[in-house]
């Protein structure tokens, strides 16, 4: 693995994968990944289908716990408290409060716009109407959706457009004040304008929250991220500043992938 300055990070770390491996039953999908996640920065994960980038992303909020036979090795250290997110004594529900996730296809609950955003807060036991109103508005504003939906908060979420639904999902993830947001190809189902709106949002959000994004769109990775990691066959091949990765990657395999060459 080639790295650029990861031993002396320019920014404090929000998280760090340490020798992280992951098994789907007998299949080893991640092979000893070491990688820093810089605080309040956007890190993009790129690589061909099946390279493990989504598997890696999902490890951060313990999504793999939902299926039997899955197994982690190594650690994901979460800062500033230096918790190992993968530790058996760490509650996955608590992890997911701190690490939000937005999926490829917008997946709003079949409830009202308001209830979608309030959902995580209610799960947390918040029932004060005024506080809920406040939090929901805040989350919708942060997701740049408030102005479009403030007059119809009781409308069903699935009546929104695709781009709006995705921003609603981001608002839902933001409502619980997560420290890290995971995006798994958040714009692959959206048109260029809706994609632009999400990218703009990512740019705004990183002032408050750390972001890890999986994308197949190379230009998107180049546009939105501060750091980029190239993964291949479950390994992290190269991690570095996005500017360097897209102008002059160190590893030949990264170069071949991002320029669209056959290895």
């Amino acid at each position: 693995m080639q790295t650029q300055d990861i031993t002396q990070p320019q920014h404090p770390l929000k998280a760090e994968a340490r020798n992280l491996s992951f098994y789907y039953g007998a299949v080893k999908a991640l092979k000893g990944i070491n990688m820093p996640i810089h605080d309040k920065k956007v890190t993009a994960l790129i690589g061909p289908s099946g390279c493990g980038k989504s598997t890696y992303l999902r490890s951060f909020n313990r999504m793999h716990d939902l299926y039997p036979g899955n197994r982690y090795e190594g650690e994901i250290r979460f800062f500033p408290d230096n918790t190992n997110l993968l530790s058996a004594d760490v509650d996955p529900i608590e992890v997911r409060m701190r690490v939000g996730m937005v999926f490829q296809k917008p997946n709003p609950f079949p409830k009202s716009i308001f209830e979608n955003v309030a959902y995580g807060l209610r799960v947390r036991g918040l029932s004060n109407k005024r506080l809920l109103d406040e939090k929901v508005e805040q989350a919708l504003r942060s997701a740049a959706l408030w102005d479009e939906v403030k007059d119809r908060l009781q409308a069903l979420a699935p009546t929104l457009s695709g781009g709006q639904q995705q921003r609603l999902c981001i608002a839902r993830a933001l409502a619980t004040d997560p420290e890290l947001l995971l995006f798994d190809e958040p714009t692959s189902a959206l048109d260029p304008i809706a994609t632009g709106a999400i990218e703009e949002l990512v740019h705004e959000l990183k002032k408050r929250v750390t972001i890890l994004i999986v994308t197949h769109n190379m230009q998107q990775a180049a546009r939105v991220s501060d750091y980029t990691a190239y993964m291949y066959l479950g390994e992290m091949i190269e991690f570095g500043n996005t500017d360097e990765i897209f102008m002059k990657p160190n590893d030949r395999r990264t170069e071949d992938y991002i320029t669209g060459r056959m290895g």
Partner: protein
């Protein structure tokens, strides 16, 4: 530079065509320089018109290649080595076009000198020497581009010092000559312009080589004397 091919063969073809056009333009510029120097030494003023005419072709090629670069950027969004190649080519054609202009300047100077008389013999050798060194730089710079050879490009950059030394020696000679015999001033100024044009051609070859280094390994070595040691 990666030697593997793109998944899109169309993209590979676009890039290959672009490189071929640059080399074609480079070949034309080399011919122009050689012809203008030949005219200078032999006194064949009739060749000047052809040189001036051919310069228009070079200008057109520069525009066509720049246009191709813009299209590739718009359609392919090249990154990494592909992007460096496009950026490098866009700068290389500017230097090639300017080298063509210098050849035209030489040709016009030749016409002025020979309309007024002949090139004093003692300058023939110096000019030829200087021109050979500059032409060799251009040739090798294009070779370095064709083969994407960063080491060769660095050699070209080092060679520029020799051209500069030759140039200064001709200038010294001219100044002495003018002081000794003021009647030679008009011709001397024209010779000076020719020598200056040849020296500039060497500078352009150096610039081209710097771009080759950038394309090959991503280093921007312009204005960095330490990089060529």
């Amino acid at each position: 530079m990666p030697d593997s091919v793109h998944v899109s063969t169309q993209f590979d073809e676009d890039l290959a065509r672009l490189r071929t056009h640059v080399l074609h333009m480079g070949g034309l510029v080399e011919t122009q320089i050689a012809a203008s120097i030949e005219a200078c030494i032999s006194g064949e003023v009739d060749r000047v018109r052809a040189i001036v005419d051919t310069d228009r072709k070079i200008n057109d090629l520069e525009k066509a290649i720049d246009d191709d670069c813009a299209h590739i950027i718009a359609r392919r969004q090249p990154i990494a080595s592909d992007l460096r190649l496009i950026l490098g080519i866009s700068k290389i054609v500017t230097d090639l076009e300017r080298s063509g202009d210098e050849a035209k300047k030489i040709a016009k100077g030749v016409r002025r000198i020979h309309e007024a008389g002949t090139l004093p013999k003692q300058y023939g050798i110096g000019i030829r020497h200087l021109a050979e060194a500059a032409l060799s730089m251009v040739h090798q710079a294009l070779d370095a581009f064709a083969r994407m050879d960063g080491a060769l490009a660095l050699n070209v950059i080092r060679a520029d010092v020799e051209v500069d030394v030759e140039f200064k020696s001709i200038i010294r000679q001219l100044i002495t000559h003018m002081m000794e015999d003021p009647r030679t001033i008009t011709t001397s100024i024209d010779i000076m312009a020719i020598a200056r044009a040849i020296e500039r051609i060497g500078d352009h070859a150096k610039n081209i080589s710097e771009q080759v280094v950038y394309v090959v390994d991503g280093r921007d070595i312009r204005y960095d004397k330490g990089a060529i040691k």
